[in-house]
């Protein structure tokens, strides 16, 4: 870089640029917060959905699955699993039926989490609500 361009000019670009764009981020975040209620349908977050999110977190589901595309890539996307499996009965039956010692063969294994019926219902409520978030038409198809 040429001599006419000094270190203090570079420093000013750094401080000015980062301050400006951080303020822009804050402004966009403010706007996003105004718009979100229409997209996340928070009026449907029942106590069951709240408890379901806790079940989701406390069993580290994100360690294998993705949820809205974020998480691990070892097991299927679950943001749309409620729609993909046609409701909650399949989901509950699937979670309940995982053998503690694993399924035979080379298959990827899902642990047996020993969830109670209440926890299973809460989990389904959480996944159902998640499936209704406006995600700009993602994923591309029902397979997730």
């Amino acid at each position: 870089m040429s001599q006419a361009f000094t270190k203090s000019m570079a420093r000013n670009i750094f401080f000015g640029g980062s301050t400006f764009f951080f303020l822009l981020l804050v402004a966009l975040t403010f706007d996003t917060m105004q718009v979100l209620p229409k997209r996340d349908h928070r009026e449907n977050i029942t106590p069951a959905v709240e408890r379901g999110k806790m079940v989701w977190e406390q069993n580290n589901c994100i360690g294998c699955h993705t949820l809205l595309g974020e998480g691990a890539y070892y097991a299927p996307e679950l943001g749309n699993v409620y729609a993909r499996r046609g409701g909650g009965e399949f989901i509950k039956a699937w979670i309940k039926s995982r053998p503690a010692e694993g399924t035979p063969g080379n298959r990827r294994q899902m642990p047996q989490f020993n969830l109670t019926d209440q926890e299973l219902d809460d989990m389904v409520a959480f996944l159902k609500w998640t499936g209704e978030i406006n995600t700009a038409k993602w994923p591309p198809n029902i397979e997730g």
């Binding site: 951080f22 979100l36 996340d40 809205l68 299927p76 694993g102 978030i133 700009a136 397979e143």
Partner: protein, 458 residues
């Protein structure tokens, strides 16, 4: 080494390398579980292995950053560290807290760990990379504050260079943005939105300030180029980092319920994020070409150049590959993301930590550089790990392209597991590359114990 207190960096670097080994071993376990699903089941399920793999990565990089800061700040400030004892105490607190957390992950089911650590009272667990129990998160904050107090006091009483100011800003930013990990609303969209304020503003924001200052410090030392020139580059690089990277956060806001305008903001700004990484590459090569001395530590110079190149490839090129919204619509949450994550973390952060270790460790052991024999072995380990990581990335990319095609693009889309069954070959090749990486890492460690003729440090 010019100041006695710089030596507190040594245990930090040793712990970093030790945890790095753990990270790679768990990576190999997971890689095998991709192709042999029942491997180590039910003892270590995949989600546990992954949590250990990613958390060890974060913790060893933090150890590396802290060690780097404790080494660099006294030399930059031309003053002994404010309190070497506090730095050592902080080291042990962090190591024990980190070790207990990992043991907790491995010994009890995660739900039990959540119960034992009262996650119900203030739920923060179970979110990707932020799986630590609340008490560990609080510990991380305390460790960071102790370090920041120690370093800030040192800078205040000594010389204030641009390198130490940028490093301090990076470390303060690291602590501040970590605070978002304590915010976990029951609304998943809000949760995800602010989760990124820790994750994105770390790795595509303030961590790059740390990266830049470490690289600048080592380049001054090994090339002897005028500080004014190096610090001018440093400011330009980090200016571009934040100008592109702050709004670049929009590339995480395409499909999580956030408004569609983020597709424009995210695409445009994150498409520019490779620029600072490209500048880093040009910077490193330029400075080495214009060097005013022949530093005997060739290995450190190699790591510095490698950081520039691999950070540009991994973070820059592989990030750009899937950052535009219309592309990301198909690639979001696939092996493409995994490919990018691996090369970006290795190229930018793992390599810069190894750069500073390569420069500082010989100094702390009383010599300007290791013996030629030791350096040759270290350079072998550089090439083995780096080439292995290139192949890991290429194989994961291949698996990702296949996955996207079979599961999302095809007119007769396959289900997730059916598509995964078609990509097994690439997962095997990735695992073999991982073994090569481990061999490189073992050679790296052996290189510390190779004796030979060395020159005393100036």
């Amino acid at each position: 080494m010019q100041y006695q207190s710089q030596a507190v960096a040594k245990p930090y670097f040793i712990a970093a390398i030790g945890l790095f080994v753990g990270q790679i071993l768990f990576g190999l376990i997971m890689g095998l579980q991709y192709v042999m699903g029942d491997f180590l089941f039910p003892e270590i399920p995949f989600n546990v292995a992954r949590m250990v793999h990613t958390n060890l990565l974060i913790v060893w990089l933090l150890f590396g950053f802290m060690g780097a800061a404790y080494y660099m700040i006294p030399e930059e400030s031309e003053s002994e560290l404010f309190s070497p004892k506090l730095a050592l105490l902080t080291f042990w607190v962090f190591l024990v807290a980190g070790a207990l957390t990992i043991v907790g992950y491995l010994m009890v089911p995660y739900a039990t760990l959540a119960k034992l650590t009262f996650n119900d009272l203030w739920p923060t667990m179970g979110r990707e990379f932020l799986e630590q129990p609340l008490v560990t998160k609080v510990g991380i904050v305390l460790v960071a504050l102790s370090m920041l107090f120690n370093l800030t006091m040192t800078v205040l009483k000594g010389r204030k260079t641009s390198i130490s100011i940028v490093l301090l800003m990076g470390l303060w930013g690291l602590a501040v943005f970590f605070l978002f990990s304590f915010y976990n609303p029951s609304n998943l969209v809000l949760d995800k939105y602010f989760w990124w304020w820790t994750v994105h503003l770390w790795v595509e924001g303030v961590w790059e300030l740390i990266l830049g200052s470490l690289l600048a410090f080592v380049l001054i030392k090994v090339t002897g180029v005028d500080r004014e020139i190096i610090e001018k580059w440093l400011y330009m690089i980090i200016a571009m980092v934040l100008i592109t990277g702050i709004i670049g956060m929009g590339h995480h806001y395409y499909w999580i319920g956030t408004p569609e305008y983020w597709q424009w903001f995210g695409s445009v700004f994150s498409a520019l994020e490779p620029i600072p990484f490209f500048m880093m590459t040009v910077f490193a090569f330029n400075m080495v070409n214009r060097r005013r001395r022949e530093h005997p530590n060739k290995a450190a110079t190699l790591w510095a150049l490698g950081t520039g190149v691999m950070a540009f490839l991994g973070a820059g090129v592989w990030g750009f590959l899937h950052t535009l919204a219309p592309v990301n619509f198909y690639t979001h949450g696939t092996q493409i993301t995994a490919a990018h994550g691996h090369m970006a973390f290795y190229g930018a952060y793992a390599m810069v930590v190894m750069t500073i270790i390569s420069y500082a460790m010989p100094m702390m052991r009383g010599r300007a550089a290791n013996s030629e024999k030791a350096q040759i072995l270290e350079m072998w380990s550089f090439w083995l790990m780096t080439i292995a990581m290139v192949f890991i990335t290429l194989f994961l990319t291949a698996a990702g392209i296949l996955q996207v095609w079979l599961q999302r693009v095809s007119t007769t889309p396959l289900g997730f597991m059916a598509a995964q069954d078609q990509t097994v070959l690439f997962y095997w090749l990735r695992e073999i590359s991982g073994v090569i990486f481990l061999i490189g890492l073992v050679l790296y460690i052996i290189s510390f114990f190779v004796k030979g003729e060395t020159k005393e440090a100036a």
